[in-house]
């Protein structure tokens, strides 16, 4: 029995037992459904073994939406607990676990895969490529992310969730103060997902640099591709830092090293430094592709080219550089002295300049345009004012002396939600609505879409604006309760109402998907938004090979110019097309990684050694495998093309 004790939850509650039952029943239902409808073969052939960037993108999308739900439920519980003073809904331990997982899930397992989803689906189409540079590596990236996310998510029913915050500062996250395996989950699950992300970074950098259609020079790339390139360069530079920090943390917890402990020469603030050397660039990894999405959408629905293309590109490159020079602003209060704080205060404020340039360029893109407010455009229009508020409060936080008062308060919480929700989440929802017809062959309902956008914005304002005020009134973050005498009650109640309105907004999005699947017209053109870039130049649904003939590009808005100025995109004749083969190895490796991670979390050394060998065997097999892909014959291409053209 001793052996099994370790898997028990250290702080059980009825809610957790209910979740256990729910998870069990859902899994049984899914397995039974797959068997009953005889879908195992379909699932394996078309999804689990696919190396097609479009399908991988859709799998990222589904994962991101699931995690959005999980992180959202966490958020509602947190706000419900704080809605009234001295509430007893959650105790301190559960509150701590929930805000820790809320942060990790939302940043790493919701926002990141959402970005990856759009990047995977759109970038190859936008540069006129047939897939990414390393399709099988791409599949492996996805499965590592997915298994990392799943490993993290089972923590609350097996062994206990991490409870040291999403930043997991040592020594609090060390064995002395976090005894459960929760922080092991944090270290290992993020490690596995992080390795996947790092591989994505390398993959997309290579893809964008080497696989663009003929004629598409760097300065003729669409803005979303540019933003993805910059984000992936940041990934390649930032994620190794996380890998190392997590490895050191794992060793501290499992092998008794002293990197971050407070005695034997360990340095607790070393973790904080390493974490934020990765963590700050990470927020730009999220926001830059979001900026790219907004650029595409604003330009499409203003019916105008993007204003100041060059300054848009340069400001992104400058932001990327700066993102590595500001990490210490996350702990101005560490006591590193006035000089260090001054330097980091100035570099942090400097980021506001290129970001401001982007805001003004979007505004000037609207100038002399012919603005049409569709759902994606509505998100973009709401983004500009809401994000500006978040941006300027960022400048306020950058004043390091004043930050001594903002640090660790709800003001800070309000600020980063104020940039991430209108900045990243709205962009992802806008991108989802915008690219939905390309992905699935029908449009989402516009009326429901706009309702959701307004509900989310109103809910957002109600949920987060009060936090700026309670923060300045001294309400510290991450506190599970407060007394009535503090007077924080009414504003926290407003926040809770805002959170509920946001939940309704997300429910409307889910309903919209259901409604549109049932009722939306399947008879749409390949270019329903009258857009400007190459991804709209191919058929809907997009054929496996993306483009029957590789497009020839000679302007930034190649597709728009082909529509308006009669430039010819597709000059060549059909030729046989070389495509990569599907492979089960990435999925199997992902599963082995899951078992590896689970063994690591609980210190089960024999399975750990076996799975480690398994991982190396998979890699060795790949090295000796002769897989040169396959060709799609000219006849087959012709047949597909005629069918797709006829379908319109």
């Amino acid at each position: 029995m001793d052996f099994f004790d370790r898997f028990a939850i250290p702080h059980p509650s009825p809610a957790i037992y209910a979740s256990m039952v729910a998870i069990g029943l859902t899994m049984i239902a899914v397995l039974a459904g797959l068997t009953y409808f005889k879908k195992w073969g379909y699932l394996w052939r078309e999804w689990l073994t696919t190396v097609d960037h479009k399908r991988i993108g859709i799998m990222y999308l589904i994962s991101a939406l699931l995690m959005l739900f999980r992180g959202g439920v966490d958020a509602i519980m947190l706000r419900a607990q704080l809605a009234t003073p001295d509430a007893k809904l959650l105790d301190a331990q559960h509150y701590n676990e929930i805000f820790s997982t809320h942060g990790v899930v939302m940043i790493l397992f919701m926002a990141m895969p959402f970005i990856m989803a759009l990047m995977n689906f759109v970038v190859p189409l936008q540069i006129g490529a047939r897939d990414v540079a390393f399709p099988r590596l791409n599949a492996l990236s996805f499965w590592l992310f997915f298994m990392g996310a799943m490993l993290f998510n089972i923590s609350f029913v097996i062994g206990g969730s991490p409870d040291a915050g999403w930043t997991s500062y040592f020594p609090l996250a060390g064995n002395e103060f976090s005894e459960s395996v929760g922080t092991n989950y944090y270290m290992i699950a993020i490690q596995i997902a992080g390795i996947g992300t790092l591989m994505t970074g390398i993959n997309f950098m290579t893809t964008i640099l080497k696989m663009r259609a003929p004629g598409m020079t760097l300065m003729k790339m669409p803005m979303f591709t540019w933003s993805s390139l910059v984000a992936n360069v940041i990934i390649v530079f930032a994620f190794p830092v996380l890998t190392v920090a997590l490895a050191m943390g794992t060793m501290d917890r499992l092998f008794g090293t002293n990197f971050f402990t407070t005695d034997n020469g360990g340095m607790d603030m070393l973790w904080a430094n390493l974490f934020w050397v990765w963590g700050h660039p990470e927020v730009y990894i999220l926001i830059l592709p979001a900026f790219g999405i907004y650029s595409e959408i604003i330009s499409t629905f203003a019916r105008r080219n993007l204003y100041g293309y060059k300054s848009m590109v340069f400001s992104m490159v400058i932001i990327a550089g700066y993102s590595f020079l500001v990490w210490a602003h996350h702990f101005f209060t560490m006591g590193q002295g006035a000089l260090t704080n001054s330097i980091f205060s100035i570099t942090t404020m400097a980021i506001a300049v290129p970001t401001g340039v982007k805001i003004f360029n979007w505004l000037f893109t609207l100038w002399k345009g012919k603005i049409e407010i569709t759902t994606p455009m509505l998100y973009a229009i709401l983004f500009i004012p809401l994000f500006t508020i978040g941006g300027v409060t960022g400048v306020m936080l950058a004043m390091s002396a004043a930050d001594y008062q903002y640090h660790n308060t709800m003001f800070l919480v309000a600020h980063f939600h104020n940039v991430i929700i209108p900045g990243v989440v709205f962009a992802m929802l806008a991108g989802l609505t915008y690219y939905w017809p390309k992905m699935f062959g029908f449009m989402l309902n516009e009326k429901l879409g706009k309702w959701a956008a307004w509900l989310l914005s109103i809910g957002f304002l109600l949920a987060f604006m009060p936090m700026y005020i309670t923060g300045l009134d001294g309400q510290a973050r991450r506190m599970y309760t407060y007394s009535e005498s503090t007077g924080y009650g009414p504003l926290n109640m407003v926040s809770f109402i805002g959170a509920l309105i946001m939940a309704v907004g997300f429910a409307v999005i889910v309903y919209n998907i259901y409604y549109s699947i049932r009722y939306a017209s399947r008879d749409i053109s390949a270019d329903p938004w009258d857009a400007r870039t190459l991804e709209w130049a191919t058929h809907t649904p997009v054929p496996e090979y993306n483009f029957a003939v590789v497009p020839q590009v000679n302007s930034i808005e190649a597709y728009w110019d082909s529509k308006k100025k009669g430039q010819v995109l597709f000059k060549d004749k059909y030729e046989k097309i070389h495509m990569p083969n599907s492979s089960g190895v990435p999925f199997i490796m992902g599963c082995i990684f899951f078992a590896w991670g689970f063994s690591f979390v609980f210190g089960l050394w024999v399975p750990l050694i076996l799975t480690t060998i398994g991982i190396f065997v998979c890699m060795a097999l790949r090295s000796f495998e002769k897989d040169h892909g396959h060709y799609i014959s000219v006849e087959e291409v012709e047949e597909t093309e005629t069918k797709l053209r006829g379908a319109k």
Binding site: A164, G308, T388, G474
Partner: protein, 308 residues
């Protein structure tokens, strides 16, 4: 758009009504450091408000003027590359604003990291504030007394807090006297504060440090020097001495009420600075600082606990 403006107005009205009765803690400073910070905050709020209004105005203008519904059907928006002048303005004006704020920020940085303005003539009162799960211990080496979970301070004298922790990282924060600073187990940090007016203030650990963080608070009472001296005398005559055993009991994780002792734990349980530090920080300022200050201010105390 009208809907949104109405909403924002309603929101701000709610916010001001709800909080209107009392000023916000951080914006109601009772000491020079908190004053500097509150001034910075208000200054940046006004400048940022201006930027927000410019962006809002531009956005509203563009949306009203260039809506598709307001234009003829065959209007084709022109291709505009961008103009050097507009770009220069978009870069230049923000640079000026950021430069100004940077200047203010640097100036304030040096102010809050030094003895508060107007208090330079008197030697600061040194208080060692250390946290343990989930309590605060305040040691007064000059007075040779120690308190738990409450802090009495004299007005019109600068305060120099030496911060460290017997556990996770905590953050020592008295919002109305000034911003916070971390207390860590392997080094000592210094926070300069001062109280202008007598009164009772709220203090807390602001940094998440586990289960008991929410209740990790302490009361601060600022009083004139004479009253403070009286209190010290009273403590010396009534409180029990702090023994090593008693202190080890106090360090046990949990919550405790207020208590008072004569003597400090500094003698038998020295703070992690100098040779007692977790590691050598090289030229870290907060590390050198306490040692220098010590020999100047209370050489007696210092030499004593060096001998131990």
């Amino acid at each position: 758009m009208k809907l949104k403006w109405a909403l924002i107005t309603v929101l701000f009205t709610i916010a001001t009504v709800l909080t209107g009765c009392e000023p916000l803690m951080v914006l109601d400073p009772k000491g020079p450091q908190a004053q500097t910070q509150a001034d910075d905050i208000m200054l940046s709020i006004w400048i940022m408000l201006f930027i927000v209004l410019v962006v809002f105005a531009l956005l509203v203008f563009m949306l009203v003027k260039y809506r598709a519904s307001k234009q003829s059907k065959d209007y084709e928006p022109p291709h505009i590359e961008g103009s050097a002048l507009v770009e220069a303005l978009c870069i230049g004006i923000p640079i000026l604003i950021v430069a100004f704020l940077s200047f203010m920020s640097v100036k304030s940085n040096y102010e809050v990291e030094a003895t508060p303005k107007g208090y330079e003539d008197k030697e600061p009162l040194i208080v060692y504030a250390s946290s343990s799960n989930w309590k605060w211990h305040f040691s007064y080496p000059e007075q040779d007394i120690e308190t738990v979970n409450y802090l009495y301070i004299p007005t019109d004298r600068a305060l120099e807090f030496k911060l460290y922790s017997y556990g996770p990282i905590t953050s020592f924060w008295i919002p109305q006297l000034g911003g916070q600073k971390y207390a860590m187990a392997d080094m000592v940090t210094t926070l300069h504060l001062a109280a202008d007016v007598p009164g009772e203030y709220f203090g807390r650990n602001a940094n998440f440090s586990g289960k008991g963080t929410a209740e990790n608070v302490f009361d601060v009472k600022a009083m004139p020097q004479a009253e403070f001296d009286e209190w010290v005398e009273e403590v010396k005559s009534t409180a029990k001495p702090l023994t090593e055993e008693k202190f080890d009991d106090l360090l046990e994780p949990g919550h405790l009420g207020k208590s008072t002792y004569t003597g400090t734990h500094l003698e038998f349980n020295p703070p992690p600075s100098g040779e007692n530090g977790g590691h050598d920080h090289g030229s870290n300022e907060s590390e050198e600082h306490p040692n220098d200050e010590h020999t100047e201010h209370d050489s007696h105390e210092h030499s004593e606990h060096k001998n131990h």
